[in-house]
């Protein structure tokens, strides 16, 4: 040690530490005294009170689970039901050897390894003396078999509960979603008191988005128990806070028709109310059976669903990303008009192809021999590609990007169940950031016919179509229309339709041109979808689209019959009706369906006929 402190300093410091030890001892005594006082308070002063409580304490508090709210369509069809079901439960604390009891039960009824695995998972987080489900959905025979053998099986209970059931099964699986057993992660995040006694939670779709409303609040009952903890009688009951029944905007009959129209092909149909944003149809095909998920899906079935190249688990309406093809032509035309890049009457010469100056690359029109001289109305109704190559060239990618984004394309619509994909409207900035490359003029032409990097979801296309119908006002799509108290049936919330926002300012005359040309698509002499527009009692405006899945080389011909199915074009169609006072807008996509006019437009016609005929029947009848 370099410097030896004097003895006096040492002593003073030694004393300081010594004093602090006394202080510590004093503090410890004070705190111990405080604890002791509380124990004396409980054991001496309030002893009688607690003795009384203790004697009466054959009372247990058990959760009373609210029954999950039902889900209905706007036309009153039950979409999610609760069905009585019987569950076999084991109270592990009352069983000497759980494994041997499971083995014993396995000789009476069927118990799979999956059942045992699930039982072990649930057992780990169960409260003490709480029944843990071993087998779900016992049938009557199994219930009887257990009852007969009950005397040999202490600690075993058959519990009646309500199980979720989806009557429409595949037809609306993605939108309604499904419930499933609460998993480890959900368990940690849920309010444990409120979910004591609840085994299921919403996993996707409406079931997940509105979990709080559907679940309600847990109640509790005070029950008197005997020395073995078995319930003797109920003393007090705090009823559960009633759950809420949900009424969706979905029109079940139209929805079923849409799913049938897609007839198992990969695709999506969206129909929405142009005035409110209410989604009447949200069909994603193929669907899956949500009932399979309720009690934990069989591993092999799940693997098949995941592996299937039809990707049935994908909600195409919100998550499917497709090149919009020619369906964006009316929107681009409006952008050209409102920004004075084009006059409606000015014509473009279409020889069947177009080349940029100084390049030999020919950008082809779908019509090999060309459309000749076309103005805007003809360009849209006949879907002339060359007209739009030239328009795109003049608008440049920046204005294209701005226009399409204004229509709501390439970004989430904000629909109330979430889980949407973004899609993409390419821009210079995007290309620089994503690919580190500058934008090339040729890409602008491709973007002008909705090809290249452009990707949109069916719901976005429907919203953009509604913007045309509303002449520049955008409505946000939504699925929940009404909330009612499940006990009283009283309406609690009426979904407030969001105020339509004006997103595009253009002259009424500009909108007239666009809407007229979309009407011409359906009802004009040379409209691309005139066969689907023929003989309607209502007027409708539409636009076909055909999106390439593979690039056809310069010297090649596209021959549908020679191309494998997964490389065929996507068929698209958008429409709204009636033209003069729009009520509904729609988007149809059939993956690898070939041409939009041939495959997609007839489906739309079928659905619109159903919608307007029914309306007429209601008015006259």
């Amino acid at each position: 040690m370099a410097k030896q402190p004097s003895k006096k300093v040492l002593d003073r410091n030694q004393n300081l530490v010594q004093t602090r030890i006394y202080w510590t001892a004093a503090l410890i005594l004070v705190i111990t005294g405080a604890i002791l006082l509380q124990v004396i308070n409980l054991q001496v002063i309030r002893h009688d009170h607690f003795t009384t409580l203790s004697k009466n304490n054959h009372i247990k508090i058990l959760p009373v689970v609210p029954s999950r709210g039902l889900i209905f369509s706007s036309d009153g069809v039950l979409l999610a039901d609760n069905r009585p079901s019987f569950t076999l439960e084991i109270v592990p604390e009352r069983v000497a050897d759980v494994d041997s009891v499971i083995e014993q039960l396995g000789r009476i009824i069927a118990i799979t390894p999956d059942d045992i695995q699930r039982f072990r998972d649930l057992k780990r987080r169960a409260r003490r003396f709480e029944g843990v489900p071993l087998r779900l959905n016992l049938n009557d025979e199994e219930v009887a078999l257990i009852s007969v053998n009950r005397h040999q099986l202490p600690g075993i209970d058959v519990v009646a509960s309500l199980n979720r059931y989806y009557p429409l099964a595949d037809s609306l699986s993605h939108t309604v979603g499904y419930v499933g057993l609460i998993d480890e992660e959900e368990f940690e995040n849920l309010n444990k008191s409120n979910y004591s006694g609840t085994s299921y939670v919403g996993k996707s779709g409406i079931e997940k988005a509105y979990e709080d409303l559907l679940h309600g609040y847990v109640g509790y009952q005070q029950v008197e128990v005997n020395a073995q903890g078995r319930k003797i009688r109920e003393i007090y009951r705090e009823p559960p806070g009633p759950s809420k029944d949900l009424y969706l905007t979905i029109d079940a009959s139209l929805q079923i028709l849409a799913v049938q129209a897609l007839s198992g092909r990969r695709g999506s149909i969206v129909i929405m109310d142009t005035n409110t944003g209410a989604v009447l149809v949200s069909a994603s095909s193929p669907g899956y059976n949500p009932n399979l998920f309720v009690d934990g899906i069989d591993r092999n079935i799940y693997a098949d669903l995941l592996r299937s190249k039809d990707t049935p688990l994908l909600n195409r309406t919100l998550q499917g990303k497709y090149p919009p093809g020619s369906t964006i032509k009316p929107m681009l035309a409006l952008g050209g008009l409102s920004r004075h890049v084009r006059e409606p009457g000015s014509e473009t010469w279409c020889p069947g192809w177009y080349s940029l100056r100084g390049s030999t690359h020919r950008y082809r029109d779908w019509k090999k021999e060309g459309h000749g001289h076309v103005d805007m109305v003809h360009a849209i109704s006949q879907s002339c590609d060359v007209y739009f190559y030239v328009l795109a060239r003049d608008m440049k990618i920046d204005l294209i990007h701005e226009t399409l984004t204004d229509f709501g394309l390439g970004k989430r619509t904000g629909i109330d169940i979430g889980g949407e994909a973004d899609g993409l409207i390419p821009s210079r900035q995007w290309k620089r950031e994503a690919l580190g490359q500058p934008w090339y003029p040729g890409e602008t032409l491709i973007a002008g016919i909705g090809q290249g990097a452009t990707l949109v979801t069916p719901i976005q296309l429907a919203v953009a179509t509604a913007v045309i119908a509303n002449r520049g006002r955008l409505v946000r799509p939504y699925l929940l229309s009404e909330v009612r108290d499940s006990a009283t049936g009283q309406q609690v919330i009426r979904a407030s339709t969001h105020e339509a926002r004006r997103v595009i300012a253009a002259n009424p005359g500009d909108w007239d041109v666009i809407i007229h040309s979309m009407r011409e698509v359906m009802h004009g002499e040379r409209g691309t979808a005139r066969s689907s527009g023929a003989g309607t009692e209502y007027q409708f405006a539409g636009k076909t689209g055909t999106a390439q899945v593979i690039t056809i080389a310069q010297d090649e011909e596209y021959d549908e019959d020679e191309i494998p199915e997964e490389f065929r074009d996507h068929a698209l169609f958008i429409a709204f009706a009636p033209v003069e006072a729009p009520e509904i807008a729609l988007a149809v996509i059939v993956e690898n369906g070939g041409g939009g006019s041939r495959t997609a437009a007839p489906l739309a016609r079928e659905l619109l006929d159903h919608y307007f005929n029914r309306q007429k029947r209601l008015e006259t009848g």
Binding site: L10, L16, V17, R20, T24, H47, T51, K55, N57, G229
Partner: protein, 363 residues
């Protein structure tokens, strides 16, 4: 020179060992009742106890000078493991506390309960007390780093325990009362900030503590039932194995965190007085060892260990009797559970080492 006794050769402190043995015996008795006479638990308790006593014995052999030499490394390694837990920890009961090494799992926060007093004692023993303001702030950093990491897991009880054993060392080292008052003011004014940083379930526990009836299905239930158990025990208790609260499954966690309620119900106030006396006896012996210690490091470290031990008792009893929020801290040497027992016994090993190596060193 006084003759070196047998226990001293083994580096065992007789009075301390006596206290530990009496406490362990009481532990067996209560655990037997709390576990519904489950022989399985008694066997496991015996294994834990044997392991923990061995650890104590081994630690007692290490001269304090050697211990001070590894203090810094021990602290840094423990801190590193706490950071590892944050990323690779295994989750149990909603918190990430465990680190798995092969078939073993352990909680680095347990190591920190000893590592923190060790490193602070080392740091403050380099110079004569009282510590300068600069040193005090350095010590605060030593304390805050692991406390935040443990609180993040989240394990508030252990975080508090670690913090107190660190502050105890600082207090003994002679930090000025003015500075101490300053800390108190800062701590109180930061309470709202801490409240906002707390997890939902932690906030709920505090709220439930203030008003247990609010959540009769959740943690409020624990407190209500535990108070009934204690209160109905009365002066002499209902007798061993006769606690109705405990045996009718009203009391949760009764062989671990809430075992004090079982004890109170069956042995009454009389039993509580005896139990507290034994705890105080062990604490008094610990403080005596600190006072007798000839080196500042040993002095400071012993008080850190004793303070940690006392916080276990105070927080557990306070929680079970409804004075503190439910934070999940066991009652030392009575509650079932191996990890905390190991740490506590290692702490006693340190106390014994400080005491028994003393005379040998002075020679």
């Amino acid at each position: 020179m006084k003759e070196v006794s047998f226990t001293q050769k083994l580096h065992i402190d007789g009075p301390l060992l006596f206290g530990i043995i009496v406490l362990s015996l009481i532990g067996y008795v209560v655990l037997y009742s709390a576990s519904d006479q489950n022989p399985d638990l008694i066997i496991r308790r015996s294994i834990h106890l044997a392991a923990a006593l061995s650890v104590m014995f081994i630690v007692a052999q290490v001269p304090p000078a050697r211990l001070s030499g590894i203090s810094l490394w021990f602290y840094l390694v423990s801190l590193g493991l706490l950071i590892l837990v944050l990323f690779f920890g295994e989750t149990g009961k909603g918190a990430q506390r465990w680190l798995g090494v092969g078939p073993f799992r352990f909680q680095p926060s347990e190591l920190m309960k000893l590592a923190l007093p060790m490193v602070i004692a080392l740091y403050l023993s380099k110079e004569l007390p009282p510590p300068s303001i600069g040193k005090v702030f350095m010590v605060l950093i030593f304390i805050i780093a692991p406390v935040l990491l443990v609180a993040k897991q989240p394990d508030l009880g252990t975080a508090m325990l670690i913090a107190v054993s660190g502050f105890a060392v600082l207090f003994i080292a002679g930090i000025s009362w003015k500075l101490l008052a300053g800390f108190a003011v800062v701590a109180m004014s930061s309470a709202p900030v801490i409240w906002n940083l707390m997890h939902d379930y932690q906030q709920k526990r505090v709220l439930t503590f203030l008003n247990p009836e609010q959540d009769p299905l959740g943690s409020g239930y624990h407190i209500i039932q535990s108070k009934i158990a204690i209160g109905s025990g009365g002066l002499y208790g209902k007798g061993w194995l006769n606690g109705t609260q405990s045996h009718l499954e009203f009391l949760p966690e009764r062989s671990t965190d809430f075992i004090f309620a079982v004890f109170c119900e069956e042995f009454g106030l009389l039993g509580v007085l005896i139990l507290i006396s034994i705890y105080l006896f062990i604490i008094a012996r610990g403080l005596y060892i600190s006072m007798e210690a000839q080196h500042v490091y040993g002095k400071l470290l012993s008080v850190g260990v004793v303070a940690g031990f006392f916080v276990y008792i105070a927080v557990n009893m306070g929680m079970v009797s409804g004075q503190l929020p439910v934070v999940g801290i066991p009652l030392p040497l009575i509650s079932h559970g191996g990890t905390s027992m190991l740490t506590i016994m290692a702490g006693f090993g340190i106390l014994m080492a400080v005491h028994t190596h003393r005379r040998l060193l002075s020679n």
